[in-house]
């Protein structure tokens, strides 16, 4: 008759305690081997006893390792560095682009533009020499204040809407090191890694750089430059990435950041035009084609 597990445990206590005769022990082993469930219990008992001894004997060494591991944590895990999850759908950032365009348009209407107001332009040139003696409420001072206010508004708007894009969902490939640095906010290292991946590709041949990788190389380098404050370098590369984009969605992403780069350069008109193109882009809101990583938080 087959032993149940309760009976097995009773016998196992005697077996492992050495209280069984040789014949009893052999019979117990035979009965155990005949059942898959009981064999597993026997194996669990033996493995646990063996492995537990291993853990206890190496307790000090493992504690020392855990100490070292935790000590190294600050070199690798920064609380500020989190790879963020998707929070905005493409439709939502198209809406943001439209809203940003609207805000810029309003700013253009309610504050004099240096490229349209010749009066303001003419007097602004004089500001360097006249600023100190012009009364605060004079027309020139008012225009100057308004211009400064608009500059501040543009910078504020840029700061509010600009967030570096996330790394792609699958960062594996020739740019994986660059993505690591980029996600860790080490933008200078990210640029170096992108350049290095590019030169390796040149020496190996172009087979490892797909059109998507090529786009990412230019796009993420541009975003790194933009984050580091090199606006003109970013504009150049973002314009290049718009033309390199292998899909409408990636193109829209590049256009968004290109518009922001223009905004940062205070090139308001071009920023509006770029955002206008983005809003009209029929594929920008096509969620079926969107990559998982997305736009600003």
């Amino acid at each position: 008759m087959k032993m149940n597990t309760e009976e097995w445990f009773d016998k196992a206590i005697a077996y492992f305690n050495g209280m069984m005769t040789t014949e009893q022990a052999q019979l117990f082993e035979k009965e155990t081997a005949a059942s898959e469930e009981l064999s597993k219990l026997m194996q669990t008992w033996k493995t646990t006893d063996e492995e537990a001894a291993l853990y206890e004997k190496n307790r000090q060494e493992t504690e020392a390792f855990i100490y070292t591991h935790q000590k190294l944590k600050s070199d690798f895990v920064n609380d500020d560095v989190k790879v963020k999850k998707l929070k905005y759908s493409p439709w939502r950032w198209v809406a943001i682009a439209a809203a940003v365009t609207g805000i810029i348009m309003l700013m253009k209407i309610f504050t004099p533009s240096p490229d349209k107001s010749s009066f303001a332009d003419e007097h602004k040139k004089k500001l360097d020499t006249t600023h100190k003696i012009v009364a605060v409420d004079s027309p020139v001072a008012t225009i100057d204040t308004q211009l400064k206010k608009r500059d501040i508004q543009l910078r504020t708007l840029y700061a509010q809407v600009f967030r570096p894009d996330e790394v792609p969902e699958d960062p594996n490939g020739p740019l994986d090191n660059a993505f690591f640095y980029y996600a860790s906010k080490q933008y200078k290292k990210a640029i170096t890694a992108i350049d290095s991946a590019g030169s390796k590709t040149l020496t190996r041949g172009s087979d490892s750089f797909t059109p998507v990788t090529r786009f990412y190389a230019v796009y993420y380098k541009a975003l790194s430059l933009l984050t580091l404050g090199n606006d003109s370098g970013a504009v150049k590369l973002l314009a290049q990435s718009v033309s390199l984009a292998p899909s409408a969605f990636l193109k829209a992403k590049a256009q968004w950041y290109l518009a922001l780069a223009y905004l940062k350069q205070e090139n308001v008109q071009t920023a509006i035009e770029t955002l206008g193109i983005l809003i009209k882009n029929p594929s920008a809101g096509d969620t079926s084609r969107k990559p998982k990583s997305c736009f600003p938080n």
Partner: protein, 191 residues
């Protein structure tokens, strides 16, 4: 043939901070991506790396093996296996894989060993959890015996007879195995 990355295994055994840092620089980025893309955080990734390193440490202590693939590939697979099990336990959800394809393994041995490390670590977690559920007397007796003391030494320390210590150890082991068997994880583990 032994892989040059075997030095990292020695680093793990000797707690060599410089080499540990070096291997973390090679592997942590990918582990982090995997974890963060699969419902985890940076902290989870760091803890997972610790668990994986410990599992390799115990596996080597139990049965030394020769590394034949890059260590970062090996540790990544261990981490991936551990995390997949963790997610199944928590949410019973699918996992976004896709990064391990970047690693190449010369044979099945490394993959099997990586799986074994993760399995051993799962057994350890279950064992630790259930050991803590035992009454203190049982736990003490077992731990003292496992730490290397012979049963007669344990008996002397606890001021009990050797025969009683032997019997008690078997009873405590039976309780522990029973508790482990009752756990939902028991059936998924290989012993």
């Amino acid at each position: 043939m032994e892989h040059p990355d075997s030095k990292y295994i020695n680093a793990l055994l000797t707690n060599d901070e410089i080499l540990l840092k070096e291997i973390y620089q090679k592997c942590f980025g990918k582990i982090r991506y995997f974890v963060v893309n699969n419902q985890g955080t940076d902290d989870d990734a760091w803890d997972l790396l610790q668990e994986a390193m410990l599992s390799i440490f115990y596996r080597i202590k139990r049965q030394p093996f020769m590394l034949t693939c890059p260590f970062d590939a090996f540790i990544y697979i261990v981490c991936r296996n551990l995390w997949i099990k963790e997610l199944r336990k928590k949410h019973n959800r699918g996992v976004t894989t896709g990064m391990d394809e970047g690693y190449s393994f010369k044979g099945e041995d490394d993959l099997a060993r990586a799986e074994e490390c993760a399995m051993q670590q799962d057994r350890r977690k279950l064992f630790v959890e259930k050991l803590n559920e035992l009454e203190e007397g049982c736990r003490k007796l077992l731990q003292q015996n496992w730490s290397g003391l012979k049963l007669d030494e344990v008996a002397a320390m606890l001021k009990i007879s050797y025969a009683y210590a032997r019997k008690r150890k078997s009873e405590c082991m039976a309780k522990l195995v029973m508790l482990m068997k009752k756990s939902p994880q028991y059936e998924q583990l290989k012993w």
